[in-house]
């Protein structure tokens, strides 16, 4: 896979990371950056097109069905997307890597049980598993993070397992063991540092996927609940007003697209560089 790496590296080294940084800044400093309160309604200024002016202030990206500023909601919406994705990647990564490394290093019946479990989880389409679990637990920020972690940990487990198997037979691991290092010490100090690259590639690509999943759940009304601004729920509203107010759906969707695209680009290039662990 060197071809793409070589042609893309030069032109694309900085902008996906830059874009991600911009979105993180938006999320962190939303309070100062947003021109309006994202939840403030203005029933006289409903469904106004981008550039609409009211009381000396401009609605740069228009207003939604309750007269709320689309740009402000977009900026605040970055919080939900980034936070949910980051937390679920951390949680599922932690669980998955632990399971995968344990299975790959301890072997025996532990390996059989854990990896069979991974297979079972992977055989339910992730979005369906997420939907049924959220439907049971009820929507909301914490539940969405938990559900995404529950559905996605097997992906990390697979990679961590394969990588651990490959590393565990190397001489330096045998040496560490023969010198009396405990399994935990071997895993944490000798194996983990050597498999972290492929895991980071998976995590980056998963980050993009988690953004999409969160938006998908919110789009279906199962994510973070209104009035909290989230790109998925903005799109869901926008779908209903598509004939009269296209801007409500257009901008959050575009933001989602850019965020996922930059995560995919970073993951891809990173994968090319370290020689793809997927």
């Amino acid at each position: 896979m060197t071809g793409r790496g070589a042609t893309f590296k030069s032109t694309l080294t900085w902008w996906p990371a830059g874009l991600l940084l911009v979105l993180v800044i938006c999320a962190v400093f939303a309070y100062w950056l947003a021109p309006f309160d994202p939840d403030r309604q203005n029933l006289l200024g409903r469904l106004k097109p981008p550039g609409f002016e009211a009381r000396g202030k401009v609605f740069l990206l228009g207003s939604d069905e309750l007269g709320r500023d689309v740009l402000s909601r977009l900026i605040y919406g970055a919080r939900v997307s980034l936070l949910v994705a980051a937390l679920s990647v951390l949680l599922s990564g932690f669980v998955g890597v632990t399971v995968g490394m344990a299975a790959g290093y301890l072997r025996g019946w532990i390996e059989t049980i854990l990896m069979r479990l991974v297979d079972i989880f992977l055989s339910i389409p992730a979005i369906l598993l997420a939907i049924i679990t959220v439907a049971v637990l009820g929507p909301g920020f914490i539940n969405v993070v938990l559900v995404l972690a529950l559905t996605r940990w097997p992906r990390y487990a697979r990679v961590a397992y394969g990588q651990t198997l490959a590393i565990a037979g190397r001489p330096f691991v045998t040496l560490a063991r023969s010198m009396g290092a405990s399994p935990l010490r071997v895993l944490a100090l000798h194996i983990l540092p050597n498999i972290v690259g492929p895991l980071l590639v998976v995590a980056t690509l998963e980050f993009g996927l988690m953004v999409l999943f969160e938006a998908g759940l919110s789009f279906l009304g199962l994510g973070v609940q209104p009035p909290t601004a989230s790109w998925g729920s903005m799109l869901s509203t926008g779908r209903n007003y598509i004939a009269t107010a296209w801007w409500i759906a257009m901008f959050p969707g575009f933001a989602l697209f850019l965020l996922v695209l930059s995560a995919n680009l970073i993951g891809d290039r990173f994968g090319d560089r370290i020689g793809d662990g997927r």
Binding site: D119, P125, V136, R239, I242, M250
Partner: protein, 308 residues
């Protein structure tokens, strides 16, 4: 071969059993599933009656056993919301979703394959780079956004295509494209990787040395030899498409299983949701099994590796 089949089939059975168990226990996460099975307007008397009907007063393990044996007898239960047999509700939607998944598969194959092929042949050139961008864009596109934007452009502005519903071929076009984009990206990538892999082999070099033209090389050698990964990924893509249908069907009000899932969640008709999730999982397990068997038929190394 038989040993491989038995081994792999056994794994699939275990996975199916595990999925059923998982779905059962996920439902118990909330404590009392009666609340999930009844509409919000249910009275306390309804809830009590339901508890008896479902046998929720029995120990969990007995309930689990009953759940399993019902499934084995293909008794999927009754929807109390719609007052109908779950299988009747679900089965009427299956053709619609299959139609959509098939449309998406056609879109993905017809566009994704040539894109991957061109990328591999023009590797390192601008064309390849440009197509890779399109692939990445397709891969990063939220289906609900691309769907809504298509509705805006072709449904609202240009009025070329109907923006929701079903019935004619025209209704199928936009949902198929929206659903197919992600698979398109997958196909393009897989094809590119497979063809690049073949391009590096000796027979290609000797064919080139004999003066075989690129067009002939592609038609007679590359495509045929690169087909294995492409075919096996199709099985997996099919289950991806069924899952993706949940969102696309919601966007386009396409009356298939996906829309039924969303409607059933809203109506708290959990028996239906559970059935669809189980179906999705079984299709995935079966598709994986089929792909593995297919793979082992084409490439015997696969099944030999399983024996060592």
């Amino acid at each position: 071969m038989l040993r491989f089949l038995l081994n792999r089939g056994g794994q699939a059975l275990i996975a199916a059993f595990g999925v059923v168990t998982l779905v059962f226990f996920i439902q118990r996460l909330s404590g009392d599933p009666t609340a999930l099975l009844l509409p919000e307007t249910a009275t306390q008397a309804d809830i009590d009656a339901m508890r008896v009907t479902l046998g929720l007063d029995r120990p969990l393990i007995v309930q689990y056993w009953a759940f399993l044996s019902d499934l084995l007898r293909f008794d999927l239960g009754r929807s109390f919301v719609q007052n109908a047999d779950v299988w009747d509700i679900v089965s009427s939607r299956i053709p619609k979703t299959l139609q959509l998944a098939f449309g998406a598969l056609v879109v993905a194959l017809l566009i994704g394959l040539p894109m991957g092929l061109i990328m591999a042949i023009t590797r390192g050139k601008h064309v390849s780079k440009f197509i890779m961008w399109i692939v990445l864009a397709c891969q990063s596109m939220p289906t609900f956004w691309s769907g809504i934007m298509m509705i805006l452009v072709f449904g609202v502005w240009l009025r070329w295509l109907p923006s929701s519903g079903t019935g004619t071929f025209a209704h199928l076009i936009m949902p198929s494209i929206a659903l197919g984009l992600l698979s398109l990206a997958t196909y393009a990538r897989i094809t590119r990787a497979a063809v690049l892999d073949e391009l590096g082999k000796d027979y290609v070099r000797s064919a080139r040395a004999r003066g075989v033209r690129t067009g002939r090389l592609v038609r007679h050698h590359l495509l045929r030899n690169s087909m294995i990964p492409i075919i096996s990924i199709t099985a997996l893509e099919l289950s991806q498409l069924l899952a993706g249908a949940v969102i696309v069907e919601t966007v386009f009000a396409w009356p298939g299983l996906g829309l039924l899932t969303v409607q059933s969640i809203a109506a708290r008709d959990f028996v239906v949701v559970q059935t669809i999730v189980l179906m999705g999982a079984f299709v995935t397990i079966f598709a994986n099994l089929a792909a593995d068997i297919l793979y082992s038929v084409v490439d015997p190394r696969v099944r030999l590796a399983g024996q060592s």
